[in-house]
């Protein structure tokens, strides 16, 4: 049991790897203590508690924990949640469904949480949906984009799962559309219209595998190479050779598990004449450019909140500055800006504050219908964008609505690019753009 985590070989990309023994022992210890005292403590019904769930060995989770604390502190200082002070309880889910279930059960049954927020990988999120529904605990998803989390649960049995909302990011169906629009932008800007479409061979990329080819075809963009790569891959040189041979103008890749550092290194040194675009979770880490010694230059990734470089709403940049001031002295990354999950978690707790003020009670578990009705009314200016939710009769009930610009393209899934200087620029969509997309210097 204690040795399970040694099987993972991809630290840092999705939190799947490098599960520490400390973490394990800590969690096991917490579980043991919780079980021991389960009978005698009961829960304190009085205090308002918010449970935050994230993989804490992953910078995404650390950033999310910090922004959750920021949101709770701010609201506590400004009159509280309907007058009450809230306490934040973070539990480490790792990226394991069984662990997530254990800690969620503890939060619901022992701590009597009035809100659950967080969860990163889709498998973990899915594993606790039943539990939250059974106890009517409002649950705000802030890290997983799988459309099935909404359609197969809230969509399938609304009465049972109406406690579930997704704050962000927009689901992968919309993400596919937004990425296709981005490809169209690249086509107009650089004349790039041949794509090598690569993705992790993992559940989270399946919606992309399903939708992206058709969406690109509609936009007269050709896929000249398509592959779902083993997430255990450790030699990407042959892949780059194949892309080169295919004549693609750029790689459109969806990597969360695969460590693409090597790919970027080869790309720069060999000066391959194609771009690297798409989604790369490791590349969202604020220290990633330094970690790769600059090999990340020119790669792009989309991420909610655009790493805080663009004033997506009036609140985005003050929020990121505040974050940096609070955490710049910390050892553990991310210290300059939270990663995408942190933006969403912050918005989630802020929305919770508004909603409980409006319904006049923090006892959400006994007043779930009022809570849900109020959530559906919300039109909230968050740090990651303008937030409102789809209603019961839509295709994606309780999912965050995508924002669309005047031309109908989705605007709340911005694309960022690393510059050779190590800065992040928002290159798409135009509304949030801080710089135009750059081709690698050897192609210019």
């Amino acid at each position: 049991m204690a040795n399970e985590d040694n099987n993972n070989r991809d630290p840092g990309k999705d939190g799947n790897g490098a599960v520490g023994r400390r973490t394990f022992l800590g969690a096991a210890g917490a579980g043991a203590v919780a079980t021991t005292f389960a009978g005698c403590l009961g829960g304190e019904d009085e205090a308002l508690t918010i449970g935050h769930l994230a993989p804490m060995d992953n910078p995404l989770g650390v950033g999310s924990d910090r922004t959750a604390q920021m949101a709770v502190d701010e609201i506590n200082e400004n009159g509280g949640f309907d007058g009450e002070e809230a306490e934040l309880l973070t539990r480490d889910t790792r990226t394991e469904p069984s662990e997530a279930q254990d800690v969620t059960e503890e939060l619901i049954q022992q701590e009597n949480v009035d809100l659950l927020v967080g969860t990163f990988n889709s498998e973990t999120t899915q594993s606790i949906l039943d539990l939250t529904a059974e106890f009517d605990v409002p649950f705000m998803i802030t890290g997983s984009a799988d459309p099935g989390l909404i359609t197969d649960f809230v969509g399938d049995d609304y009465e049972e799962f109406k406690n579930v909302f997704r704050i962000g990011p927009i689901n992968s169906d919309f993400q596919s559309e937004s990425i296709a629009d981005y490809c169209e932008y690249l086509s107009e800007l650089h004349g790039w219209d041949e794509v090598a479409f690569l993705r992790d061979n993992a559940a989270w990329t399946e919606p992309f595998g399903e939708h992206v080819p058709d969406l690109l075809a509609e936009r007269d963009i050709d896929i000249v190479l398509e592959d779902a790569l083993s997430i255990e891959i450790d030699d990407l040189a042959p892949v780059l050779s194949d892309v080169n041979e295919s004549g693609a103008d750029y790689i459109l890749r969806f990597f969360a598990h695969i460590n693409a550092g090597e790919m970027l290194g080869i790309w720069h040194e060999a000066e391959y004449e194609f771009g690297i675009e798409g989604i790369h979770v490791a590349g969202m880490l604020p220290v990633y450019h330094a970690a790769t010694e600059g090999a990340a230059s020119y790669e792009t990734t989309s991420q909610s909140g655009a790493a805080g470089v663009s004033p997506i709403t009036d609140r985005t940049q003050p929020f990121v500055q505040d974050y940096a001031e609070r955490y710049e002295g910390e050892d553990e990354p991310p210290t300059q800006a939270p990663m995408y999950m942190g933006f969403n978690t912050y918005d989630g707790i802020s929305i919770f504050g508004e909603v409980v003020d409006a319904i006049g009670t923090t006892n959400t578990r006994d007043n779930l219908d009022e809570f849900v009705d109020e959530m559906l009314e919300i039109d909230f200016t968050g740090v990651a964008g303008q937030i409102s939710f789809y209603g019961e009769d839509s295709d994606y009930p309780h999912d965050v609505e995508e924002e669309r610009g005047d031309d109908g393209t989705i605007t709340n899934f911005p694309m960022t690019q690393w510059t050779p200087e190590g800065d992040i620029e928002c290159v798409y969509p135009e509304q949030h753009q801080t710089a135009e997309h750059q081709m690698p210097h050897w192609m210019q």
Binding site: N6, N8, R9, D10, P11, G12, G17, A18, G20, R21, R22, D57, N58, P59, N201, D227, L229, S230, E232, I233, D234, D235, A237, P238, V239, L240, S241, D242, N244, E245, N259, G261, E262, G265, I266, E269, A270, E271, Y272, A282, L285, V287, Y288, A290, A291, T292, E293, A295, E332, P333
Partner: protein, 297 residues
Amino acid sequence: MLGDIGTLVLQGAMISAIYALIAIGFTMIFGVGGILNLAHGALIMAGAYIFGILVRETTVSWIALHPAIAFPVTVVAVAVLSWGLYQVLVRWVEDNVVITFLATVVVAVASTELVIYLFGDTPMGMTLISGALNLEPFGINARPRYVQFAGFVVSWIAIGLLWFYITKTDDGRSILAASMSERGAQLTGVDLHSVRAKTWLIAGALAGIAGIFLGSTGSATPLMWLNPLALAFIIVVIGGIGSIKGSVVAAYFIGFLEQFTVTFVGQGFRGILSLVVLAIFLLYLPQGLYGREFVHD
């Protein structure tokens, strides 16, 4: 097709050279002391991280050595680490196979924890030599990096030096003797303890070199020791446990086999063929290709 074969030969040769470095140290330690050193991968990881710290400006700002200086410093450092691991831990438990096995596992796992504690789990990139050679004008669809060529050359230099040491010097021959028969070696006046310590030192140096090349072709990560360790196992079984020649031959065999699979079958099947070959060897040729060099007392 011809281009594919060119790519296969080139990439296969370069990867195999690193595999050989990974496996030789592992096999030597097993051959001489009968110790299954599961911390071998951790030593490889140490090579990558030490080199990374020495050459990168961002990790420890006041150390930023030229790679040409950092390279030998790293090799010496990992050799000393390996020697220290033997002197401090392994020599006291080496008579008990199970305890040694567990002790080295603990070291390997602890190394992951230590690396996460010190550097986090963000991959650390590093540069030994930058640049790449475009072979497309020659009909080969590959742009191998200079660092891969360097790995090939350094690997063969290291193997050559090792071969010279083992076969041409008395000191080295004592290692070979100890690996063939401990009792025989002892009867001819070989100090077994010092031979084993030397073996760990050499294995550490080779692991350090392998680590530098793995780190600079990819990146250093807290679990980067797992794959090399698994590879070392496969190669050593195929080559014959304890045989250096066998390790080199098997490293090239596995390297080319993997490259062949990638080129002609598909990226996803990379490791599978090696495992099939491993299973065949375990069933039908458990002593490996050159297993006879290792004789039990």
